[in-house]
Point group: C2
Chain length 433, copies 2
């Protein structure tokens, strides 16, 4: 008999049916025992009325892997509207011991560190697993949107020969006796590939040796990167980013519907046009409201981002807001300055629910501008030779952005710690599981 998913039971009432999964929960009443079976589609109910079988089943540990054949019967009380009667139960794999956490409870009571230590087990919880179904749909939506806009997916190396992009917070490794580093981003490679494909994206790991133990920092995370050529200015990039975010939300709605229900998520409505506020104007707005002096501050503090998030909802009905024109001093050397205000950059952050989610902007594209920018920062262009090849041989005006996957899912699910939306987080202290 072919295995059915528990979500298919209602379509097979009156038939003999076989399901398989984990023993999620057992409820013993005086004359009947219910087994709740969990599979990848959800929960299904098995009803045992035979006393001998019920006694046998009372020895089964939670998380026992079982296959159950029985008669499928419609039932209003059962999850999904049908259940299995007169079951034959086969044990496929017995746990070595009872799990130390109760997966059937609506919420795991264990603390985050305990859950992370027990990740192979804790992630089986319906709410935990739903978070990563959201993540999977997010990445799928990012990719399909960009492919639809003519982008080509690329795979660039994570082991790099120099730590030039920022220098700080980089992991060093022993590469056949030579020093090498883990890439902090695919920035240089994705720009280079604009010269080949015009529009590229990559979804992959990036590595930051973050010496901070905070709820926002990971030393490895997934970056959704895009870069595009032949732009007029950064607004072309912001338009594509808007479409990407809308595509991600739509993919979650269609591809992870049950996960949205399990987590009772309120998905954002991505407006046709996301409001945009200039950095200096944003500072003025915040100052006017809070009385703080912000003039000359080169960046926004977390509290200011939260303020802007609330302002965007209040004034524009949008949970997303662009901040543009950040000071050049806080942006990397490849950033294009504002054409008339050279201390400001043609770059942006996208805030989502009061937190920076995306950074992007227009890049320099002329070879001479790179030489000048590196010289101004006291850097030797010789250290950038292979990167600069792209510009040496003709590069169009271009720009791009990077979205932190775990951060996006954290904002969506209102997770207070980025580790809760990372399957196996890596941080200052954590290297396992």
């Amino acid at each position: 008999m072919p295995r059915r998913l528990v979500s298919e039971l209602a379509a097979h009432t009156g038939e003999p049916v076989r399901i398989a999964g984990w023993l999620h929960r057992r409820r013993e009443l005086s004359h009947v025992t219910f087994l709740i079976v969990r599979d990848r589609s959800g929960l299904g109910q098995v009803v045992i009325t035979e006393a001998q079988k019920a006694r046998w089943a009372s020895d089964l540990l939670p998380e026992t892997v079982i296959a159950v054949s029985g008669r499928c019967v419609a039932s209003r009380q059962a999850p999904g509207g049908a259940e299995l009667h007169e079951p034959d139960i086969e044990v496929l794999a017995a746990p070595a011991e009872a799990p130390p956490i109760e997966l059937w409870r609506p919420q795991l009571s264990a603390s985050l560190p305990v859950r992370l230590d027990l990740a192979p087990l804790a992630l089986r919880h319906l709410r935990e697993r739903a978070i990563f179904e959201i993540a999977a749909a997010t990445v799928a939506g990012f990719r399909s949107t960009l492919v639809g806009l003519g982008f080509t997916e690329i795979q660039t190396p994570k082991i790099v020969g120099s730590a030039t992009e920022s220098g700080a917070n980089v992991f060093a490794l022993d590469y056949f006796g030579r020093p090498a580093y883990l890439a902090q981003s695919p920035q240089f490679y994705k720009q280079t590939m604009v010269g080949v494909f015009e529009r590229v994206f990559e979804t992959g790991p990036v590595f930051r040796a973050e010496p901070h133990d905070t709820p926002r920092h990971l030393s490895e995370y997934v970056s959704l990167d895009a870069e595009m050529g032949f732009i007029e200015d950064m607004h072309d990039v912001m338009d594509v980013l808007r479409e990407a975010i809308a595509g991600m939300v739509e993919a979650i709605e269609t591809g992870a519907r049950e996960a949205v229900e399990v987590l009772e998520l309120e998905l954002p409505r991505v407006r046709t046009s996301i409001p945009e506020v200039d950095f200096a104007d944003a500072q003025a707005l915040i100052s006017a409201d809070t009385g703080e002096t912000l003039e000359g501050e080169p960046d926004l503090a977390p509290a200011h981002e939260r303020w802007l998030g609330e302002w965007a909802v209040r004034e524009h009905g949008s949970e997303l807001v662009f901040v543009t024109g950040y000071p050049m001093s806080k942006r990397p050397f490849y950033t294009q300055p504002h054409p008339t205000r050279p201390a400001s950059s043609n770059s942006f952050d996208l805030l989502f629910r009061g937190l920076e989610l995306v950074t992007g902007g227009q890049r320099l594209n002329r070879y001479d501008d790179y030489l000048t920018a590196l010289n101004v920062r006291g850097e030797d262009p010789a250290a950038y030779t292979s990167y600069l090849q792209a510009f040496r041989y003709g590069m169009p005006p271009h720009g791009g952005f990077a979205i932190g996957l775990e951060r996006f899912v954290a904002r969506l699910t209102d997770a207070q710690n980025i580790r809760a939306t990372t399957l196996f987080p890596r941080d200052l202290n954590r290297l396992a599981p």
Copy 2:
């Protein structure tokens, strides 16, 4: 005027049209100059008849980034069947110097090492770029096939705390003063996630400190990994693998049609059933043909794989062939042995055009079997505690496979060196670009 891709020209004859791209080639005849413009969609032709403009254009270096507005005219001689007349040409970015290689030639004459050193430039060649359009379509086809089969995409860490999976050929890094390693595969994590999602896949980098400088070895490559639970035996895994390969080929046909044409590829026909030969039977077949004594040899040599590739075409009309039942001695500890011949494994290789492309099999799923297998190999289960959690708390029969992306594309495009199908290869000597 909105920019059009050169592939769209034929749809706009008689209209004023604007295109943009790289000056791919210039041909100067006595009364007319042709500029060939390359963009992400292909090549387009611009016709200059005005003497002064032709003189001006004769100074443009190859790879100059230009935007051209003109009247679109049907032309049988032009690529795509239309060309731009009376052009207005704007230089968006001038190269610093003429490129050292001629990108317009049908084949790059430079050697592979030179091409790799000049990757940001050399990858602009139509044939080079087509290879990576094939790669992008391959990955997309892999993912969409598996999503269609109920698989969930996962993202697992590349920095790991122990080098337990094989010990050898692992890159070590300094993790905040502690030793850590780069993951050689997502094997342990994808198995663990079978306990959560039943069916998972991952497309991401893996790292091997390969001390071999051969045309087949890279120290970083892209692995297309899948793992699935509730299987009867490894044939369920092989069926999914067959579907994945068929989906990859189909995605190339539909999503990278021009690249297939540029490279004049002969795509394989993936048969409804891929022929399968037992390892010992394969050895007997080869021995009978070549006179070699192979009994007791634990693996197939490259020449034997080639022999089997030719045999499968000859006997079964298939460019793909499964070899099953490899000796346990050559398989990792988590491999499920054959139920009646314990020296043989429930594992397989998939050969494609005479080269191993995929390795896979059924894994152990019972906790006690893991303890036994580790003890037999003289390993301490304590080193595997977090991995073993998954089995400690109930895991179904499961199996999976891993496809090397660059290797697949190399076989498809008949590349003699895996570096030719890697954007920025990493090997014993190469760390840049």
